[in-house]
Amino acid sequence: MNKQKTFYGTLKKSLFLLLIPIASNHIIAQDDESNNSNTEQNKIDAGNISGNFQVLTQFYQPDSLIGAKDVPEDVLMNGFLNLNYNRGNFSAGIRYEAYQNPLLGYPTGFKGQGIPYKYAKYSHEDIEVTAGNYYEQLGSGMIFRTYEDRNLGYDNAMEGFRVKYQPFAGVQLKGVIGKQRSYFTLGQGIVRGIDGEITINDLFKNLKEKKTKVLLGGSFVSKFQPDEDANLVLPENVGAYGGRLNIIRGGFNFMGEYVYKINDPSGDNGFIYKNGEGVLVQTTYSTKGFGLSLSAKRIDNMSFRSDRNAALTNLMINYHPALTRQHSYNLLATLYPYATQPNGEVAFQGELIYKIPKKSKLGGKYGWTILVNYSSANNIDTTGISGIDSTRQGYTSEYFSLGKVYFKDFNIELAKKFSKSFKAKLTYANIAYNKDVIQGKSGYGVIYADVVVAEMTYKFNSKNSLRTELQSLTTEQDQGDWATVLLEYSRSPHWFFAIMDQYNYGNHDPKKVLHYPTISMGYNNKATSFIITYGKQREGLFCVGGVCRAVPASNGVSLLITTSF
């Protein structure tokens, strides 16, 4: 324990030294510590500090073969430090971020450094108030969700106030107001929202013990942005509302949500005055060893930003959950991943998971796990309004029919543990990917690909193991066939060592039949990790939660340091 204390102590001190290069402060802090470390009361009163820290640095080398461009700075770096202070019902914190300059593929708007995130929060019994920055989500987020994904470079945090209030059991109210973060500044628009959620069973005594549970929710969100357009009369206040229903009984769960947005001419929809709407329905059933989920969604003209001229992932007020499986194998995850299309999309997904029990005839000693997933996304079926469209409605859409294919994915996964030391997983996926729409390119059309992945893990003993991934992606189109081999040796609990090669053996252009090898090594201790990687990164997409960013080809050494304290 003493050792750990010293470790954390040293870590904290060095971090603070880095932050504020004033030696005297540091000495004062040390004095205080020695004076008070034995006074139990002070310790309890002072609350505590925690945080985390991450720096990713990459040294770039040009490589004309793979298309890795020369980086004038040679070295680029992304980093942040979070500090949270917590005492009883009060908490406050800041995040310092620095991009010297942003890593390739990361939004260039992040260039620079600062403290874009700071908050103070107080909660007492049934009320909670936040001032400063916060992340919040109403319902499934289809009309309001602010969130961050540091790896993706996505952060649309609100800056303003938030109040959560529970007037009595079973009723939860929320109110938000503020502006949204746009890199190191705030967007122009003001966003306001309220949300109420009622758990019917908690309201009435005689319903409390009922097996069926019902939740109702509703929200209203509006944004204000002045109309500075010379030609069009634009709505300065744009409102959106939504209602949701959740019914649960045993292993059965039904969730439905409907959202509506008044006309919101924007860069995304070509400044049309059509209203937007969306519906999301999800049903799941599960019991021990079996799980089934079915979902459907339709959205029409539902892009919603606090600046009508914003593009990319900037200043989005809402979030559209992609109804596709989020793959984690490298070829599947980065070559043809789906990104939601807020302008219009009809999507379906079904997933079944079944575990053949252990010690059964078919299951053997350890059992099997089978997962089958199917998803599809199409455009909505629209007809452009030809001739006079004096109200600028843009198009009409047929509710129950499908437009052109955006994405399809049928995949099946079998996992089996064969013995204490060996287990394997086999995955097959058949994908259709509309590259033109999803990546905003032209001339590619819909790409059809088959993917097979075999993953095997062998444990030499309790500490040493080797994990192998053999991946194959075959397609006649685009860049042709790919293969990936990954070998990952880990020595628990501290070390790992990995080699990976991606090989574009089927490229139709012989000059592009290339290997992309990388070698990496990592060290973990408690909440601290170091990972160093050397090699070639192919051009691809990096996606989290259906939001993607393009990562260009690069070559070089990168170092990741991350810790929590």
């Binding site: 750990q4 904290k12 603070f16 402060n25 802090a29 205080d32 510590e33 008070n36 470390s37 310790k43 009163d45 609350g47 505590n48 500090i49 925690s50 945080g51 979070n82 500090l83 949270n84 917590n86 005492r87 908490s91 406050a92 800041i94 700071k118 992340y135 987020g141 969130y147 540091r150 549970k213 939740l215 959740n246 292993g251 769960n253 969730m255 799941t284 059933y285 599960s286 060893g289 109804l323 989020q326 984690s328 998971i353 575990k355 543990k417 893990t457 500490k463 193991s465 994990r467 880990s490 628990s492 609990p493 790992f496 973990n524 408690k526 909440a527 601290t528 939660g545 991350t562 929590s564």
Partner: protein, 169 residues
Amino acid sequence: MKKLFTVLLITLISFCSFSQGNEKTIPSVEVKTLDGGTFNTENISNEGKPIVISFWATWCSPCKRELNNIADIYEDWVEETGVKLIAISIDDSRNMAKVAPYVNGQGWEYDVYIDPNQDLKRAMNVNNVPHTFLLDGNGNIVWQHNSYAEGDEEELFEKIQKLAKDGTL
């Protein structure tokens, strides 16, 4: 504005040095239960026995490897040490509905909660999943670990055993 932050930072530093010896506990954050309700994490307890809190997501392979590997031996862990594992899924509305089917499908015996707005993840300073915390019987965080490699569960179990026996690491 900058002055304000400097002042804030200095205040934080002095607080930090005061709190050097303070044990960190579970923050009070509302998360979702698998049946649609809410649960405040300050109510996490295990009758004075060790608690493991593991952050995971349905799209995170190492997370699932870790929790599936522990699932195979969890019964023995509970029997020997009385430990309770709480799995916190950080899946958002895209994959949230798939959490219960996955958990039941795999037959996990853990307490599972969902943190769709990542409030608990932020409050516990988790950078990336998987991230695992070990808490003593009084709810103090005594150890944590980032990432997962095969066999890491053995180190975790050694700590749990020591904690169950001595009450401290």
